[in-house]
Amino acid sequence: MTAPAAFVETPDTDDAFPGQPPTPQTTARFVILLAAVSAASIVLFSYLYLSVPTKQTLFMERLTTCSIRVPDDATLPQYAEAAAQEAVCMRSARLDQAAWVGAALGGELALAYGLYLVWPAWIRRRRGLVTFDGCTEIEQHLAKLTKAAEIDPAPTWLLDPGSRLASGYVFGARKRYSVCLRAGLITRFVKDRAAFDAVVLHELAHLRNRDVSKTHLTLTLWRTFVVVAALPVVALTIGSGGLTHPAEWFSGSATALPRIMALLVLTAALLLIRNGIRRTRELEADATVGYFHPDSAGALRAVFDQEPDRGRIRSWFGPHPGRAARRAAVDKPKTLLQLRPWEGIGIGLSVGVVTANLGPNLTNLFSQTPLAAFFLEGLALGVLVCMVLAIAVWREMFSSPTRASRVRILLVTPFAVSSGLAVGQLLTAVGITGIDSSADMVAAVAAWGVLLAGMVCLAAWLYSAFRLTAEDGRSAFGWLLTLAAACVVTGWFTAWLLVQKAESPALWWLLPDRDDLLRNETGWYRWLAAWGHAANFPVSVASNGLFILLGSTLFWVIPFLLHLRSGRRFAGFGLALRTGAAGGVAVLMIGCLLPIAAKSALPLETRASSFGWVQDASYISVAVLMHVVVAAVVAGAASRSRPILVAVSASALSAVSLLGMLAMWAVGNCINVTGKASCRFPRTTFSELARNLHTIELRGMLLAAIGCLIGVAIARLFRRGSVPVLASAPEKMSWRGAPLRTVASDVVALSFVVLLIAMSATASVTRLADSFGFWFTGG
């Protein structure tokens, strides 16, 4: 079906996708609900498992036997070893629990599906629905409307003879659907045919949007969850006196309060998601009528106007949208795509609950290498967060590309999703059972801050990349490739979050990981070196990220390659490349001076013992700090695509800095800074170079984000026409008839890009091999 001409001509000029129908969003929400129900059920069933006396005895005995106390100053390998031993010891008990919980979850889902199958027959019988046999005039008119709505096969039309409401509903299962019209509505068939048609077309729109089965499954899933999972927990809590003795809420190992809180939050979240699905489907059906049947849009609006206002709270959280929202859906269907803050919180909460409860089960599978479980949990979380953000950004742009709200994209959505995620991460099966009641709220808040910062950066990059893709022709390939690049790079902050969860106190301290080598005799080098290698626990773990180097390169490579296809110049790309390279050369020159300065400032005894490591750390510090300067310059000069351009400059800076490291070693050798070197080109390995590149790039990107903000702030303050701004409309790229200087500049730039990609690819592969062992073999 093509869009009606009236719609294509009349929508607001902001519509970048004219002629495209509104896209139903119920499927994504249903997937979130399914995941949230599963995760919430796992949490509650885990508690119920431990309420079975024999299971409780078995599990707690095993837990007491297997508990290993890890010293506060344990290193990561020590922690990993202890965790592995504990996991192996607990394996049989955890598998028993997993089997029990899995069976209960399977039963719950099967019951929900069974109810879904029998529900249509139950509705028909309970409400005494009848067919329209003999009502020839109505039957003929309904057939006409079905044909107009292009619904094939036609649904079964039924009458609810016992209802005075002027409405209707669709129900059914497995593609056998019925539309029930209430007796109150039929009176309008005679009195107000337009209103009758609008309501019927709305119901047919549900079939067109394919949301009927999903909605019924949503309702049966919710009801099954309440009966099978939530009510037994409530009953046990009441039975154990958990509710009647408030004094005991805060005492004892298995306090009732976390359980009650978890139960309330999970149930409320599921209820809100359920209502969200119902509201969305109604709005989408309204939008579909407005789009495909503009003649009925006025009548539909008039129907809404007859309805009394529901109030904000009911409209926002209830099962049906408010009058204003429904009118807006008919008038501007694409505004439905914008992610509301409450939706963001709900989605974040669902993702948090799912991943937080995925972890313990992964630990069962990877009992020998618990870090692998952490890694996979982090990866799942990262990919889910990235996809949520990408969908939110895409929807915001799709709804209104030129007026897409940056505040919503860069602040509101990350804030909402990260807040939900932070709460969801606290709602674990371990927490609710009271086995581990040592929830570190301070660390949880800190983790939320880290998550928020990472998500703001990612949202900014996604917005830039998607905008570029949209300008270049909006190919599906481009969108997907951009999304894939974003997913690859998300591992770093999820690893951060997860490991922080395991060892939260370490988050707060900058721990020089080679403190023994940072002796006082090294003077000012000590301070500088501490910058380069001082790390808190999460950053140390992130240094072993499998895809960080690859991801940070893809951050600019993918948008650059996609833009090349459009045949236009990437505004600011050359400047970013040059600024990054210039920064790298500056670092290189400082690096060459470092051994000379050391030789004149430090005694030979100090330089002879482990000075090489201190010198490398100092050099890395210079390179990392230079990222702030370069990012500030690039972000300040650019007027768009800042996250991509900063990533380009960071890659260029890191690569040239790595070459500078070789120069520094060569100078150190030639001036014999350690007293035992000869003037020769330094010997090194790919592994060492890749590790150094990884360190510079990871820490450099973290500081580059800060530099970017500084640059934007300075540019805002001082840009009054005097500072050159990069062209906002990229010119066509063509070498035919271009000056030789332009061609030469392009060739050099492209060669440099190829060099950067080659270096990054080599380093990524090398780091991949080195880091794999850290996560998967306990090495």
């Binding site: 009848v130 329209f132 009927v212």
Partner: protein, 163 residues
Amino acid sequence: MNRKTHDAQAEPVAAVAAILIEAAAPAELPMFPALARAYANSVVMRRGRDRPSPVDFGIEDAEHLLTPVLWQAAVDVVAYFGTVAASRGLALTADRVRAMLRRPAADTPSVTAAPAVTLTKEEWGHVHGIVTEVLQKSGMPHEEARQKADSVVAKGYLSDDGA
């Protein structure tokens, strides 16, 4: 009451109800065949708040439906007709009811050849009273209920009166 008896009673009631609806609530006539089947199977109009279904359109605007009220009136009228017919030694059938109200069935070319039951002026007045009372019980103002009852009995009453 067995099913056969129930059906036998339902048909005259449906016949009377159709006439009542045609006169008093023509907007509800298109769905009458379906409603008649439902009411014949003892489906009743839900009392109190008519709760929307979880998957409903979402509008709680309710229409004032006369069909259930008129159906109840038809039940009472048919019961009265039954009494009158029995007093004259005749059984009450749908055709006989239609004949009493001077409304032939749509698919029958003429009124049944069976002897008709003719109502007196007083008996028509009683029918009028039944309809008025039921409509008033449903919340309709007295004057409006009376007018609707007038239109219901007008044809039969005038015919019989003129006979």
